[in-house]
């Protein structure tokens, strides 16, 4: 729930004698519930349709598979949500996923210490910290360029998309890192899979990470000053700045958050597929953006929720999985997924236009009711 929606739903005390004011607020509440619920409705529809078409769709095993895939996208989408709330975009997260995986893989392979013959094998927790740190660092560079130099987020992160992917290829040098991830007892770097591919209580670890991060993101957005600042500067950066909001710092940090999320996904993914590969994470940024948008966020900033984003990620996940299970060809899968994304924003926009028109009509009617004498038309 965003600050915006929360505020719209606060029941106002009816003070207007005409009563027009109260009814206006009620309709805002109703329509915002529709916007919120739209993604959920779509999700239920998708599940219902595919459950009818295939007996295996709601199979617990399949649900776990879906959830695991959804979780990767949802974690990235949470970071992306922060960026989009600020009116920015981060195209580099997919490459950062790949880069983090490659960094982690190389650390498992061991570091050749310069000037010595020694190879160092860091412990798993060190590898995790360094890898996620690399993700955060990529985000920090993005953030600095965007907030301090005021470069366009699209351009900076597009550049970083290439840089990140290139560095991934350099680090892997044409070879996937697979066996080394298991670690060796003698080197003291085992335990990676035991944690990052585990299934506490039967649910994949990635789903747990998603749940924890979603809760943290909710608290951050709704309860912390940082969250309020994020919504404010996303809606009107100049006004936020003049209200004392540290807009530059806020902007830098959201890209760090997005990069950190990408780092976490990178680790989860190499554990999931038991390999660090050069194309890991390719196009992930697009799925993340799609989840945020389907979840009702505005690309212009200032509007969007954690709940919506998570639902958006599930819409994409359940749709993709359903299409596979039903046997739709991969080519048509893309067409349908794309159409759903466009449909989501189109419906959003149509709803907004309808709302604006209704508000304008009401305002005009109020004016006519109040000033009957001046509105004279000559014959």
């Amino acid at each position: 729930m965003t600050a915006t929606n929360a505020s719209a739903e606060a029941t106002p005390r009816p003070q207007s004698p005409a009563g027009g004011l109260t009814s206006r607020f009620r309709s805002i509440t109703l329509s915002s519930a529709l916007v919120e619920g739209r993604a959920l409705l779509a999700l239920i529809l998708i599940i219902a349709v595919f459950a009818l078409l295939s007996d295996n769709y709601l199979d617990p095993g399949n649900l776990v598979t879906i959830t695991k895939q959804v979780a990767f996208n949802a974690i990235l989408a949470l970071g992306m949500l922060m960026v989009i709330l600020n009116g920015g975009i981060d195209l580099s997260v997919g490459s950062t996923v790949g880069l983090t995986g490659a960094v982690a893989g190389n650390l498992f392979r061991g570091l050749d210490l310069p000037l010595t013959q020694a190879i160092m094998f860091p412990q798993v927790w060190v590898i995790v910290v360094i890898s996620v740190g690399v993700g955060a660092l990529v985000g920090y560079v993005n953030g600095l360029l965007i907030s301090r130099l005021r470069l366009a987020p699209f351009i900076v992160t597009l550049g970083m998309l290439y840089v990140g992917r290139g560095l991934t290829e350099v680090l892997l040098d044409g070879q996937n890192i697979t066996n080394e991830l298991r670690g060796q007892e003698g080197l003291g770097n085992t335990g990676f899979f035991e944690v990052f591919a585990s299934r506490p209580l039967g649910l994949p670890i990635s789903a747990w990470v998603m749940i924890v991060l979603a809760i943290l993101a909710s608290i951050l957005l709704v309860r912390s000053p940082f969250g309020r600042w994020l919504y404010a500067s996303g809606s009107n950066e100049r006004a936020a700045e003049l209200s004392g909001v540290p807009v530059t710092r806020v902007k830098t940090r959201i890209y760090v958050i997005a990069g950190t999320c990408a780092g976490i996904v990178g680790l989860l993914q190499i554990a999931n597929i038991s390999s660090a590969t050069a194309d890991l994470g390719q196009f992930y940024e697009l799925n993340a953006i799609a989840a945020v948008v389907i979840g009702g966020a505005a690309l212009s900033g200032g509007r969007g929720t954690v709940k919506g984003t998570i639902i958006g990620a599930f819409v994409i996940g359940f749709l993709a999985n359903g299409l596979v299970i039903v046997g739709v060809s991969p080519f048509w899968q893309q067409v349908i997924t794309g159409a759903v994304i466009i449909l989501a924003v189109a419906v959003d926009r149509i709803q907004q236009i309808a709302q604006n028109r209704a508000a304008a009509r009401r305002a005009a009617a109020e004016v006519r009711a109040k000033t009957p004498t001046t509105a004279s038309t000559p014959a």
Binding site: A3, T4, A6, S7, A8, E9, A10, T11, P12, R13, P14, Q15, S16, L21, T22, R24, F25, I28, I219, R223, S224, P225, R228, W229, Y231, A232, G234, S235, N236, R238, A239, A240, E241, L242, S243, G244, V245, P246, G302, R303, A363, A364, V367, R368, T371, T373, T374, A375, S376, T377, P378
Partner: protein, 534 residues
Amino acid sequence: MSAPATEVAPTGTAQIGEVVLRAVGISKTYGVTKALKGVDFDVRAGQVTVLFGENGAGKSTLMKILSGVEQPTGGQLVLHEEPVTLENTVDAVERGISIIHQETNLCPNLNVRDNIFLGRELRTRAGGIDYGREAEITSRLMRQLEEEIAPQTLVADLRMGQQQIVEIARALAAEARILIMDEPTSALSASEVEVLFRVIRELTANGVAIVYISHHLEEAISIADHAVVLRDGELVAHEPAGDIDLPWVVHRMTGRQAEYDFREEPRDFGEVALSVRNLTVADLATGRIVVDDVSIDVRAGEIVCLYGLMGAGRTELMETLAGRDPMTAGEVLLNGEDIAGLDVSERISRGLGLVPEDRQRDGVVQMLSVGSNLSLAGLRSVVRRGLISRTSESGRIRRGMDEVTVKAAGPGTPITSLSGGNQQKVVIGKLLMTDPTVLLLDEPTRGIDVGAKGEIFALLFKEARKGLGVLYVTSEIGEAMTASHRIVVMNKGRIVREFDPRTSSRAEVMAASGESASPATSTTTTDEAIGGTQ
């Protein structure tokens, strides 16, 4: 789309003096704010109708309606004795009504010819642009306007005055019969004004009707055939120009301003709270000096009014003091402490905040509620263990709303549903919640009705009695005279004089600002400029 002009000199059907455009009971409402309340007036062919009025009187709203930018909520426009609805600006232009804005609307990256025919390009048989004919018409128009600018000249390379001429040429190319000019001289030098006035006289001789708006009262009076005065959205006078003079205009414009009067007996102010020493600010893009060696002191409890015309450097001064724009030279001390190196948020936490000029662009956060807007600046004070404490936030919001008397259904109300005056109270209240030492306000009452204006000043004076120092900018003389302890006049980036509002006259203050309201400082320049056409 109508056929573009092939004739350079506009040939009209209307006789000079004939009414070509009539506004009947035009009213316009934004949300709860009534910008225009049933205005009637005529525009006559071959004559200049000047619109007078203070900021917020409804002039610009009326202009927007006449030029098709906005539709009236009540009333009717009658063009050549036929009721019309101007759907948009293109529609207005096709009906022969063009507007020339204060800020020119040209594309600086295109040349003069392309600008003149932008959106109504002449076509060759093959469907391409007929550059030859366009250039020919452009040269002819430029010769007529006595401004020999080659059609291929880039607009970016032209002086402001020349750009203005290009705008007029564009209107003529679209066969404008009614030309609306909004503050056309504000960026012009004296000699450019001279050229412009000569062009206006030529246009009217050809039967073009002109609607003219300017803050330079004497200039406007000298070009006027008819004077229309607006005040608070109402038409207060509509007279032939022969019967008017400057005191008449000033009186009609400001007549009801004295509804509030906050002048008070001198009292002891506190220590100097804000001290500005030799502040100089250069525009980063152009290098032009916009604030020139300015020194001002504001004491605790004192309300200082910074009066001046638009473009005098007032906004630049305020934004620099707030920490948004960098200063070039000088010192800014808050409670004796140098704050030159601090950014906006650090200055706010030290006790110096700005209520910006453009409420929509810089003041309110549209997607947040009234309550969240109000608590935004002082958010740090309601944080407990890293999180916003809801109880303490809503408590502060409730107190804040009472303090500044915001009329809203509740803290959850969308900020955009409030009237301009109430939105402004929220913006002011937001900064008051940070316990400021000095509050800066840039045109705090722009676009706000008289009642809310009084309430806003009542609020400022109440806070001042508690020790708040206030420095506010206004271009409304009535406001400066009745709602300040001291008036500082700014003209062309410099502080020119200071006045005590209890012992000085409006005319003196206006004269110092360059507005030249005093009949004593008669307008020799504009008299010469129009070359005895009256």
